[in-house]
């Protein structure tokens, strides 16, 4: 028997290894079709949603789940994790086909990963029964909901970055005269180009322009690695790097050449935009590089910065109790440029019109139904309830929801906005600007290919922060990014990535 023990041990190891290898050798699957349950479950269900820790984003689920339970008997439970852990958790669940989550309220930019892993189901059949889709949704959002011709997710939060500015400060005639004396020209309110924005921010930086006894700043942005800093750089590079929609058959090409996935990130357009971003940090921004997203919102709302480029959340926060900028905030497209780098012809092109290229950073929080759920119909009931005009109108006007207007009808019924103390004209201007950015012809949809977070968080952002801290030149850093992006594309499979990128762009 003593001699048999090692044999038994080895046999056990071999058997375990074989079981694991067989389990891990899965075939690439197509995204599962929505299973149709013949009948509704008679007993009450508990449906789980993986999402971000509240109050933002998960807040609306908790707010409306009790009403849904009264209507259907089903309980909806938000499983909350920090922002940085949502994608790893969802991806782990997708890779292991775990049924831990019935729904995801997660980023639209992760759609390619989820579709590639067959973890989310198409929603087209469900949507066919909804009268409002797509007629009540901006085209820019319909595009983002779609991947390879099918609708896999539904955006309930319209995310794109744009300019917020102090109307009262930038509109002050004395300040305008002083600026003209110093810079030799009159600025637009709001600034129309990025170069003008840098000048205006430099002018308003580091002095007490609202006479409250405190020093204020021209501009505020997020500069911290691991805290979504990379999105804040895109508004600075896109106008110089995106070919206008009337000059190219597929608009919004920004990150890669769609023919071969060769990075565009180190072309002269990107480099120029990045240099300008560094310049505003040095001359026109609040000092320090510890600023994170919450600081951008707070500093603007507390009246410490004259301008910011951020997601729409600043809007509802200007009506919060601590705000000193209620009714004093203007909303505009992120500034553009009067030249762009034509990467197809390798040359700079001057423009008469300003080349705006707003970026749909993050694209938006989006509802998904997982292919692992046993109750897709009940999940759809909840999603449909949350996306209804009544419920969504409440959410987009609530500061702590984190949701921005995404239905055209959100600009028509302003009762929820007025209930949250908004001035009607201000609410209209805010909603309209959000929808204008969404549907801008040159707008860039944030990258939806497998490994998107690795391209940005793993590679781009570390190098970006070296440019912002002045330890690297824009060109030097972006060359390294391009080299590492290329290597990552090879590792993930260039042909497959090209295919995904073309689906993402609806490439023609």
């Amino acid at each position: 028997m003593k001699r048999k023990i090692p044999i038994i041990l080895v046999a056990l190891v071999v058997v375990l290894s074989l079981i694991f290898l067989v389990a891990s050798g899965e075939k690439k699957e197509k995204a599962a079709e929505a299973p149709k349950t013949a009948e509704k479950q008679p007993e009450a269900l508990t449906l789980s949603v993986l999402t971000m820790t509240g109050p933002f984003i998960s807040g609306p689920i908790k707010a409306h789940a009790p009403e849904f339970k009264t209507m259907t008997g089903n309980t909806v439970e938000a499983i909350e994790v920090s922002f940085g852990d949502i994608f790893p958790k969802a991806k782990q669940a997708a890779m292991t086909k775990s049924d831990a989550f019935d729904m995801l309220l997660a980023a639209n930019i992760w759609m390619a990963d989820f579709v590639g892993l067959g973890y989310v189901i198409p929603l087209d059949d469900y949507l066919a029964g909804e009268g409002w889709y797509p007629s009540d949704v901006p085209e820019g959002i319909v595009k983002k909901n779609t991947f390879g011709g099918k609708t896999y997710g539904l955006i309930c939060d319209n995310d794109n970055q744009y300019l917020f500015y102090r109307k009262d400060i930038l509109g002050n005639p004395d300040y305008q005269a002083k600026f003209k004396k110093k810079f030799g020209y009159s600025y637009n309110v709001p600034p129309k180009t990025l170069e003008e924005l840098v000048d205006v921010a430099t002018f308003f930086n580091n002095w007490d322009w609202d006479n409250d006894g405190e020093v204020e700043y021209g501009f505020i942005t997020n500069t911290k690695r691991g805290a979504q800093a990379y999105w804040y750089s895109f508004s600075w590079t896109a106008p110089y790097a995106v070919i206008p929609s009337d000059k190219i058959s597929t608009p919004g090409i920004f990150f890669f050449n769609p023919e071969n996935m060769k990075p565009l990130v180190n072309n002269p357009g990107w480099v120029k935009g990045m240099e300008l971003y560094h310049k505003i940090l040095k001359n026109g921004s609040a000092p320090g590089l510890d600023w994170v997203r919450a600081d951008v919102i707070n500093e603007f709302v507390l009246g410490h910065a004259a301008m910011a480029i951020d997601w729409g959340d600043i809007g509802p926060h200007t009506y919060s109790d601590v705000s000193v900028v209620q009714g004093k905030t203007g909303y505009a497209l992120p500034p553009g440029s009067k030249e762009y780098w034509d990467w197809k012809q390798n040359k700079w092109v001057k423009t008469d019109k300003i080349n705006y290229a707003p970026v749909h950073c993050f694209n938006g929080w989006s509802w998904y139904i997982t292919s692992a759920t046993k109750h897709p119909d009940e999940c759809w009931d909840f999603i449909s309830f949350m996306m209804s005009e009544r419920i969504s109108s409440i959410d987009v006007a609530t500061p702590d929801s984190g949701f921005q207007p995404w239905r055209i009808s959100h600009s028509k019924n302003l009762d929820s906005w007025k209930a949250n103390r908004w001035d009607e004209a201000d609410a209209k201007a805010y909603i309209q600007n959000t929808l204008d950015v969404t549907d801008h012809p040159n707008s860039v949809i944030d990258l939806r290919v497998p490994g998107a977070s690795d391209y940005f968080e793993g590679i781009y952002e570390p190098y970006l922060t070296t440019v912002l801290s002045g330890e690297n030149t824009a060109k030097g850093a972006l060359d390294k990014v391009a080299k590492e992006w290329d290597a990552l594309t090879d590792r993930l499979g260039r042909d497959k990535q090209v295919e995904f990128y073309q689906w993402h762009l609806n490439y023609r």
């Binding site: 290898l21 891990s24 690695r225 690795d454 922060t465 990552l488």
Partner: protein, 291 residues
């Protein structure tokens, strides 16, 4: 004579333990050996055996070598500081001073706190605009420091946090070693007219050396695996200025889900730690602390 049934019963009783060890220890170890020679992005296809390709890639991965080098620098600096401070404070606490017990307890508090909580506290302290650290410096006319966003200052900040939290461990252990030394030797040295410095140099330190080398070994291994403070304080930035090896392995293995490559890097890290372990064991043998 032991009966056959009794023999079988013996083996039956050890089977659960053997299976448990196989499942939680032996199998993962063997599987990781296979993984380091493979490419596997779960969900996108099976495991693909690639031989030593991951190690070849590691050889060409500038970020890996940067992370490894940075880990050595980080460990060397903080261990030097912790050891010097630990020895100094332990020497002071050994003396008969007023409030000795209060200091002994209060010095231990940092290491009792969760590293995550400690990191968040230090994140606030180091904040460029609102942190007490820069506010304090301003009293002396010193310009604010980019504690967490400067290439050099960020790694120094990580060292400060680690030294603050783990020097107490050094103090506790070295103090225990000092207090266990035989009193007669010191009495004899004093009678012979040896100065306090000579006593420390010739008696205290040599006798406490085995304990000191052991805690240096433990702290080296621990410091090499630092993760939580980096994750919370700097996220590895600015750039890759605080991207130590353990953090880089996490990024590649669990963010990019490049599990084969991540496993290969983990094995390299393990080999480095084993090499350091062997070095310390040899040192212990050389000084006679181990036979």
């Amino acid at each position: 004579m032991i009966g056959l049934a009794e023999k079988r019963m013996k083996y039956a009783l050890i089977v659960p333990v053997v299976v448990f060890i196989l499942v939680v220890a032996i199998f993962p170890l063997l599987f990781s050996l296979y993984m380091m020679l493979s490419i596997w992005q779960p969900g996108t296809g099976g495991i693909q055996f690639v031989g030593f390709a991951n190690f070849k890639a590691i050889g060409q991965d500038a970020r890996f070598w940067h992370a490894l080098w940075l880990s050595f620098v980080y460990v060397a600096i903080l261990l030097t500081l912790e050891l010097c401070l630990g020895t100094l404070i332990a020497t002071v606490l050994q003396k008969e001073i007023g409030g000795k017990n209060f200091f002994r307890v209060s010095y231990m508090l940092p290491m009792l706190l969760s590293p995550v909580a400690v990191s968040y506290i230090w994140k606030m302290i180091f904040d460029y605009n609102r942190g007490p650290a820069n506010h304090f410096l301003s009293f002396f006319g010193i310009q604010p420091v980019e504690w967490l966003s400067g290439e050099i200052s960020a790694i120094i900040s990580l060292v400060i946090v680690d030294v603050w939290q783990w020097t107490p461990f050094m103090i506790l252990t070295i103090l225990a070693a000092f207090e266990a030394l035989p009193e007669e030797l010191f009495e004899a040295a004093v009678v012979d007219g040896a100065s306090p410095v000579k006593i420390f140099q010739k008696i205290t330190l040599p006798l406490a050396l085995p304990v000191i080398v052991t805690i240096v070994l433990l702290r080296t291994i621990d410091a090499f695996k630092v993760f939580d403070t980096i994750y919370i304080l700097t996220g590895g930035g600015p750039g890759t200025a605080t991207e130590l090896l353990n953090f880089y392995i996490y990024l590649r293995g669990f963010r990019a889900f490049d599990l084969g490559y991540g496993t290969a890097m983990s094995w390299v890290q393990l080999i480095v730690i084993i090499a350091m372990f062997m070095f310390f064991i040899r040192s212990l043998k050389r000084i006679g602390a181990l036979r």
